[in-house]
């Protein structure tokens, strides 16, 4: 029993979990501490501004006073900093991001719970599809014997990988919504339609899903393709390729060798891509008014709804960290050398 828990894989897992937990605490600390260190503490200002920003119609004095006291108590603003931080930590762990201002009286956690599935539905397929297609195209470009295709491909991939997701979103909306009327301008589903589990609703959602999806996927493809092309080119020139050839290994098999070795670092690249895509998605969703976390954050910024912004960020943070962790574990299984080192099979 004891042997099992000191084996390399458990130590590895422990270290990884520890690392990501550390990341979580560092990030949440940053977003808690920085405003309090700034001149004119934004949180205090935010709270005192509640007088003027709740709902529509004039503020009702008793209600706003109650709300003010609620927030002072909630954030422990009248207590020393370390107690404030402790309260904050507690709330984070329990996913209690307090109440939204923009969507008062909705609780942030409820808003986030509604928006998260939409965002994940966009992020995960876009990353997977983008990764697969991107790596495939990158490999194709690298294998191409003709120098011209190789170079043109490089510049094309480079260009698309650097297009801001949200600009691509605007462009796609212009082309496909405005010019060709194929897809809608925005939203998660059509106006006035009530969400239900019917086929027509699902199709409606898909119809609204296409452009946001494309905005993400195309950029991801570009980035992956560049990386994969470089990796394959590197592998193709490796000594082991020449050696295999010198012993009569045919091109089809050699291609498989190179591909398998080139794809490994690309798995790590997937983790990096997620960090970037999560950010780009926020703005892309806002552009389309797609009902995900991004649009929530956008509204939060617009209305200075700090609980909403922080809540949205925390969820995105957790998503990113979990994704990275999953990929780290995946990599152990995929790379036979690491697998051997940690699992000793």
């Amino acid at each position: 029993m004891r042997k099992k828990f000191t084996s390399p894989i458990y130590i590895f897992l422990l270290r990884k979990v520890g690392f990501y937990v550390l990341c979580f605490f560092v990030a949440t600390f940053l977003i808690w501490a920085i405003p309090r260190l700034m001149p004119g503490d934004p949180i205090r200002m935010f709270v005192s501004q509640i007088y003027s920003s709740i709902g529509s119609g004039g503020p009702v004095p008793e209600k706003t006073k109650l709300l003010y006291e609620y927030y002072v108590k909630k954030f422990n603003l009248d207590k020393p900093y370390y107690i404030q931080y402790f309260t904050y930590l507690q709330s984070i762990i329990t996913f209690d991001f307090s109440t939204s201002i923009a969507f008062y009286p909705a609780k942030v956690i409820d808003l986030v719970k509604m928006a998260l599935p939409w965002s994940l539905a966009l992020l995960i397929p876009a990353e997977i599809v983008g990764w697969i297609i991107g790596n495939y195209l990158g490999a194709l470009a690298a294998y191409s014997r003709r120098e011209k295709i190789n170079n043109v491909a490089l510049y094309a991939f480079l260009f698309i990988s650097q297009t801001p997701y949200y600009w691509l979103a605007l462009m796609l909306a212009y082309i496909f919504a405005f010019q060709f009327h194929i897809f809608p301008f925005g939203g998660g589903y059509s106006w006035g339609v009530t969400p239900s589990l019917t086929l027509s609703f699902i199709l409606d959602v898909v119809w609204h899903y296409v452009l946001p999806f494309l905005s993400l996927v195309l950029v991801i493809i570009g980035g992956q393709a560049i990386g994969m092309r470089e990796m394959v080119i590197y592998e193709l020139g490796s000594e082991y390729m020449y050696y295999g050839k010198s012993l009569g290994v045919k091109d089809s098999k050699l291609t498989k060798w190179a591909f398998r070795n080139a794809i490994l670092p690309q798995v790590t690249g997937l983790a990096l891509s997620i960090g970037s895509a999560v950010g780009g998605q926020v703005v892309t969703e806002a552009v389309f008014g797609y009902p995900g976390i991004g649009t929530l954050i956008y509204t939060g910024v617009l209305r200075e709804d700090y609980p909403l912004i922080q809540g949205g960020f925390t969820i995105l943070l957790i998503t990113t960290l979990i994704a990275n962790f999953v990929i780290d574990i995946l990599y152990v299984y995929i790379d036979p050398r690491i697998r051997r080192a940690y699992l000793g099979e």
């Binding site: 990501y20 990030a27 480079l158 801001p164 600009w167 212009y174 999560v278 990113t320």
Partner: protein, 281 residues
């Protein structure tokens, strides 16, 4: 004499040449636009929503502002933020990377851990949260904010280089002659890494421009100046897509993209020049 030196460098790398050309074209565009402007970028000078014409090269936006002038100033300001944020990020990256690579041991491990943590955090969302706290949003605060989030890549690159340089002989000679650690870093290591520092800066600058654009789009851009990101934001807010105003949407985004591409090509090109590799076939 400088011309021939320049030519020989550029001939080694087509990518460098293309990158520089694109970058310089963008700067030229901006200069032309600014010099020929008869009014400020945010002044209403004409009817709204006009498509491009010989008088208004990029048409007008929904405020009746000349987009050609707007974009020209936007390029200037976006580049300025890019440079400032890039410098800050590169500087922090050098300090952390060189210290980690040079000192090694526990210092290296701690700094490495710190670098990896910041690296994993989703950048734009973090920028958005922190940016939302800023009461004053001018180019300086924004550059600072972007700079202190994006340094990890540079730190890694610089650390690797410092580490490899550290073990070379000439370092030992300097060490024996009694130079302090700081002097060693400044006099021996950094000059040999100049190429990497320049390359890192190019990357940081490109990334900073994209970050600023993202912040502007979400509504946290600079409040007092025009940047390419702000132009895109206005285009979005004023429904440029629904109105088919492609001239409002295409130029700013295209230039952002091309700026980032050109800086990336410059980075790749510098790598080809400073670290030539045997061409295979």
């Amino acid at each position: 004499m400088y011309a021939s030196a320049f030519l020989s460098v550029v001939r080694k790398s087509l990518n460098l040449l293309i990158g520089l050309l694109i970058f310089l074209s963008i700067i030229t565009f901006s200069i032309v636009g600014i010099m020929t402007a008869k009014h400020g970028p945010l002044e209403m000078v004409d009817l709204e929503n006009l498509p491009p014409s010989p008088q208004r090269l990029l048409g007008t936006d929904s405020f009746g502002r000349d987009l050609f002038v707007e974009v020209s100033f936007g390029i200037l300001n976006s580049l300025r933020i890019g440079v400032m944020a890039g410098l800050i990020a590169t500087f922090i990256g050098i300090v952390i990377g060189a210290t980690a690579g040079f000192k090694g041991g526990i210092v290296d491990e701690i700094l490495n851990l710190f670098t990896n943590v910041i690296l994993v955090l989703p950048a734009l969302p973090l920028l958005i949260v922190l940016g939302s706290y800023l009461r004053i949003r001018n180019e300086y605060f924004l550059s600072l904010l972007i700079g202190i989030i994006s340094w990890p890549w540079t730190a890694r690159a610089i650390r690797a280089q410092t580490y490899s340089l550290k073990t070379r002989d000439f370092i030992d000679v300097s060490r024996i002659s009694g130079l302090s650690d700081l002097e060693l870093i400044m006099l021996d290591i950094l000059p040999n890494m100049l190429s990497y520092i320049v390359m890192a800066f190019a990357l940081q600058m490109g990334g900073a421009i994209l970050s600023e654009a993202g912040l502007s789009m979400i509504g946290l851009g600079p409040t007092d100046i025009v940047t390419l990101g702000m132009i895109l934001r206005w285009a979005y807010l004023w429904e440029a897509v629904r109105r088919g105003m492609w001239w409002w949407i295409v130029p700013p985004g295209l230039i952002i993209t091309l700026t980032s591409v050109s800086l990336l090509l410059i980075n790749i090109g510098l790598d080809e020049v400073f670290n030539p590799r045997l061409k295979r076939g």
